[in-house]
């Protein structure tokens, strides 16, 4: 590869291998006061959320704002939100890897870390939301004296397997990717960090044999992760699509959710990269080109999402199913019109700005946009879940749900949980892949 012309995504001011190692190792320097301040802040929020959870477990789910028939609320909404976030990571590291798009190298580590932490966050919510979380382990098919098994027809069991697999695979992926970098850091580090990295690098030395197996393994992991990415959110979407609820029971859900997931995931990557790049002074490696590429992804998925919205309404009308029609009418003009319109504006209209190269290359604009997309995607799930449930078949049994402080606290806690992990990661492991960045930099040759 090194012999070919400099590929896209190549750092502008041709850094040498040595520069790469130096610059990226530099990000692992001892953290400053701001870092610890941030960490303290998120941990406080996390503790508040945890307190709220304990309160809910003690007193009962009644402390949440559930109003039948809305039996799923903020928790499941946030669950789907985080699962969605988790998607861009593996997309960038696996799918783009298979597509050999070189620009991924600078950003994929961040995305992948984000993926793992997002799944870790998402995984908490099904537990938080069930009525008797002390029995949640009954969803696992383990041999028990009751001779009972689980219902493999239930989408929730599918979820268990999908999320579990996704978490395992993306974690493997992250760790495998880290090994050579940790080795590189090891050889620069001193003191306790030296010990840490010596252990975590698993005695990696970059021999021809190691590279031989490593590259292959990485390729197949990517090959496996690719269908997985697409499957996970499809399965999550089937939690709804398998339901009989008007506004849920639609075949479009799987692609619709996957697109939305990648959309929100990429947005979150942008949200994280912009400050990261600034703080760690990585402008040399994460360039405006990278952001433009990301925003192209945003644009693509955003257009798919917008199309999906349109389709939903069209089908509701075209199907002639009065329940569907009523449900969608209620979305747009019912009690929850504000949620629906937030979602449509943030996800359906704002991405159109990305048609303009100016905006694609304007990092502050992208940052703001990404925040809106995150917001919009949360509301998309809120609308799909809460609004559909509040307006089902039985007019007599319709209701209106407003979340309680407990739900907000736990949701805030989930964000804190996510950022805590990310902060810890960013300071202790290379957030840009050393080896892969080097891979796309041509090595010096004696014959120029």
């Amino acid at each position: 590869m090194a012999t070919t012309a400099p590929p896209e995504g190549l750092p502008v001011s041709r850094p040498t291998y040595a520069d790469v190692t130096r610059d990226i190792v530099a990000t692992l320097g001892n953290p400053g006061r701001i870092y610890y301040g941030l960490l303290a802040f998120v941990i406080t929020i996390l503790l508040i959320g945890f307190g709220a959870l304990l309160y809910q477990i003690k007193v009962g789910l009644g402390v949440a704002g559930y109003t039948p028939p809305v039996m799923w609320g903020v928790y499941i909404t946030t669950f789907v939100f985080w699962v969605g976030i988790a998607h861009s990571g593996t997309l960038i590291s696996a799918i783009l890897f298979l597509f050999r798009s070189a620009w991924r190298t600078a950003v994929y580590r961040t995305a992948e870390a984000m993926t793992v932490f997002a799944v870790m966050t998402a995984g908490l919510f099904p537990l938080i939301h069930v009525g008797r979380l002390w029995y949640a382990y009954w969803l696992i098919p383990y041999p028990n004296q009751r001779m009972l098994w689980v219902n493999f027809k239930s989408p929730l069991v599918w979820d268990l397997f999908a999320i579990g697999t996704y978490f395992t695979v993306s974690t493997c992926f992250l760790i495998v990717g880290l090994i050579p970098d940790v080795a590189a850091v090891r050889d620069k580090a001193t003191g306790w960090r030296k010990k840490l990295y010596t252990i975590t690098s698993l005695n990696w030395r970059g021999t021809d044999q190691q590279w031989r197996h490593y590259t292959r393994a990485y390729l197949y992991l990517a090959a496996l992760a690719t269908p997985l990415v697409l499957s996970v959110h499809s399965v999550v979407s089937w939690d709804f699509a398998m339901g009989i609820v008007p506004g849920w029971h639609a075949t479009i859900f799987a692609p619709y959710f996957v697109a939305g997931a990648i959309y929100s995931g990429v947005a979150m990557v942008v949200t994280l990269l912009v400050p990261l790049r600034r703080v760690f002074k990585l402008e040399r490696y994460i360039t405006t080109d990278h952001f433009e590429n990301l925003s192209k992804l945003l644009l693509l998925t955003g257009m798919i999402v917008a199309y999906a919205y349109a389709t939903e309404y069209f089908i509701a009308w075209y199907s002639g199913n009065t329940f569907e029609q009523a449900s969608f009418w209620n979305r747009a003009f019912g009690d929850y019109w504000w949620a629906t319109w937030t979602m449509i504006i943030c996800n359906g209209f704002l991405p159109f700005f990305l048609w303009f190269k100016k905006i694609r290359r304007c990092i502050p604009a992208l940052f703001v946009l990404s925040l809106f997309v995150n917001l919009g995607m949360w509301f998309e799930r809120f609308v799909i879940i809460v609004v559909s449930l509040s307006f089902e078949y039985e007019p007599y049994a319709m209701g209106h749900y407003t979340p309680s402080w407990v739900e907000w606290a736990i949701m805030a806690g989930s964000f804190a949980w996510f950022f805590m992990w990310f902060l810890l990661f960013a300071k202790n492991f290379p957030t840009v892949s050393i080896a892969e960045v080097k891979e796309i930099i041509p090595m010096p040759r004696k014959k120029a």
Binding site: Y66, V130, G131, L148, L156, L160, I244, V245, Y393, Y396
Partner: protein, 1004 residues
Amino acid sequence: MGKEMDRRRFLKVLGVTSGGAAAVGCSTGTPEKLVPYLVPPENQIPGVATYYASTCRECPAGCGVHVRVREGRAVKVEGNPGSPFNGGKLCARGQASLQGLYNPDRLRGPMARGADGGLAPISWDDAYARIVERLGSTAGDRVAFVTGNESGTFDRLVNAWLTALGSQGRLVFEPFGYEALRYANQQVFGVDALPSYRFAEARYVLSFGSDFLETWINPVQNTREFAEAHSVTEEGMGRYVHIEPRMSMSGINADEWIAPNTGTEAVLALAIANVVLADHGGNAPSDVFRVRQLLEQYDPESAAGVCGVPAETIRRLAAEFSENSSLAIAGGMGNQHDQAHAAAAAVGILNYVAGNVGRTVVFGSDPDPGAGSTYRGLADLTQRMRDGGVDVLFVHGANPAYNAPSGLGFGEALGQVDLTVSFARVLDETAAHADLILPDHDPLEQWNDFEPRAGTYLLQQPVMQPVFDTRQTGDVLLALAGQLGASVAGRFSAQTYKEYLQAAWRTRQNQLGGRGVAFDDFWAASQQAGGVYQPEPTRAQRLDRNVGGLTFSSWSGIAGSGDLTLMAYPSSVFYDGRGASRPWLQELPDPVSKITWGSWVEIHPETAAEHGIVDGDFVEVTSAHGTAVAPAFLYPGIRRDVIAMPLGQGHSELGRYAQDRGANVYNLLSSEPTEFGGLSHYQAVSIRATGEHEVLASPAGRSRQMGRGIAQSTTYEHVEAGDAHPFHVEHAAEVPEAIEQVLDEWQAAQDRERAIGNYAGDHPRWGLAIDLSRCTGCSACVTACYSENNIPVVGKLGVQRGREMSWLRIERYFEGGEGDEPLTVEILPMMCQQCGHAPCEPVCPVFAAYHTSDGLNGQIYNRCVGTRYCSNNCPYKVRYFNWWDHSDENSAAHSFPEPLHLQLNPDVTVRDKGVMEKCTFCVQRIRGKQNQAVLEDREIADGEIMTACQQGCPADAITFGDLNDPNSAVSRLSQSDLGYRVLDGLNTDPGVTYLMRVRHTVEE
């Protein structure tokens, strides 16, 4: 789970009361105590229910009950099939009598007012001493005794006792005294009595505001007979026209609702009578000449002007009335304005000229829910008290301080009485002013009898040991008599009230010609039957000689202070307010407004719009006599110039469930007795929005069906024409033959794949058929379900957040009612439909929701993890989640405070926090009968298993059975042309078939 706590505490209680009872069921609690009987009560086997026949005393109707007793505690009250009144059925209030017995606010022993003015416990002996001492120094005529309707031995005991004291001061006070009706009969027929109304024979019912399906005389009997006579048969269908400014629950069940100008029923009735006599006088008895002249003054045209009812309608009604075996009724408490007697008299004449007297209106058995009570009597007594004419006052089974207008000032007048003795079971408004409270036994703990009408002698027997240190008032009176010196004591041979009662029944046995039979046998037989039922005595009734001289005037109408008319109508749930202390009844949605745990003001949407009022806005209602504040309920079923409020709420006492809840509407009424000696329930009022607002505590999400055909109805015309034109939600396209075949084969293959393990072989499929033409929406089934299935009450906030747990709910939908189009109200009982292809089942990850081999949606509480996915996926929304720990006494949501936990059905698990629950067709009853059948080595007969809702339903609207048995009643009903299944288009294959409601409408 919660039951463990419940049982341990239960044993503690019985440990002190009945010396312990054998424990059944088991629990994970440690260490658990098993307490055996000291001496086993006869015919009680632990784990096997015993039934005791008794009589319901929740209202004066006198329905027979069977009380289900397990391990020495009453766990359910059911109708006595042998009773001529309720024939095995029971209304919500009757079902809830259990919560009178176990009410946590029951007085636990005698109380006396101390020097500090507070009530403190006192020993029975000291209490007796105080009374004896005071009576000793009082002239008899300064002693007064107020009771409710006690037509029976106790009634005679009280009189005898007073006579012994030399007192005439007996007063019966029943707030629903039917004074107008009795007064009118005095005028028209010359008898101060009530006839009995034969709804069974009446194919045409014309109700002038009588809520005969709710509180009027004997609602359960009325409902039974009406539902039967009104239903579709070969001869045709009954018809019912309701005439009232407001569409009450009874009105909802009418085929036609007419709202004449307020208070003009008399004129309308006379006009109809006029036409009947003039055009269809055939059936009229000979002496109608007495009224002919009177009636001629009321020609339809002029009447139309007064009533606002078109003359042709009057003529039509008259024609219909005379063509059918008809019955006109009036004198409901809801229509008791100050000319109610006129209306009642007019209706009496109408019945007479139509020849109904002696046919559907029969004099002779003289039922009297009021037991001769008049409001004027209370007013006079109050005056005497105020003038210091009463030294000692006894109050039993009446609460005048609550259900008389505050203007009367009964409470204050009590201050003028030296010694007020109350026998209240729960501290009510009157008892709160008393000096001594000697709590009576609950009716379910008593020996007593009751004579709701001539020829019917009902027995009450204690079904369990008294829960608290209470004494039956009869015993108290006899004990006092014993201490009051020879003059009094001499008159009573009996030591205990039971002896007194049996003595009375000895004489009765002789009267009834029961000589020859040993008394004990007679007694035992009566006990088992719940009483002695003689055929109703009848007597021919002729018009009073002076009837022609009667003058009729309509209600004086709006007087002064307001532009709207307030109707204070009786609550079908709380009756006159005595039911308000029962949590089941508080949480039972009102059949019309569907509001729970409070009062409301019914306002027509247009009137509300004029005042800028929306649902839930607090409205201040001001009359000349007081004000009341309650949230507004916009109801298209009421005249624009009328607002209505239910009686029964707004207690200042009566325990935790009733206290400070809603508004006491009595305080808006005039305390002046009317001409007929009653209380006028109509008032001129003005309204004002206070600016506050609340979410109505009502489970009704939307009041309109949005054309979804949940509750479907048709007209008799269509039924006759043979097309019930079932409502189609789905407009599914024709499926081609080939596809059909493929689908069938596929279905067959699927079925084969299912028929393994427990599912192999033949099984029943349990199903329900619900006839909406019979269902009146009375909600007895709902309370029955609460009682049978240990359903917790969630309180007002819970209902406001839609978290009520009622497994069975009565849905109420409005149709039309906008502008001039007529309003119809659809009623539909909705419980788990036990779908064959249940959407709730496959989504449960742990098989907590699954399909049983006999076609039920099993719900395994102890397996449930609480994902609530099943509820999301249930199109009928009949799954209920335990948001709190209702069974934990330390939880704020605790629903069974001691001793209410004694009501819990030991056959049903008390559900835990975080668990989904729902109707399973009373699976505990099914399994019970199946076990029994296996032991007796026989098949289960059709109709042997009854769900609790079916058993309670006064209208017999619900039928349960095996759908796989082609001959079962339920299968046959499910095949009916009127049958439909809710949301059939979803292919859920429900096990519940509804029979469309048929309305007998007519074209103008």
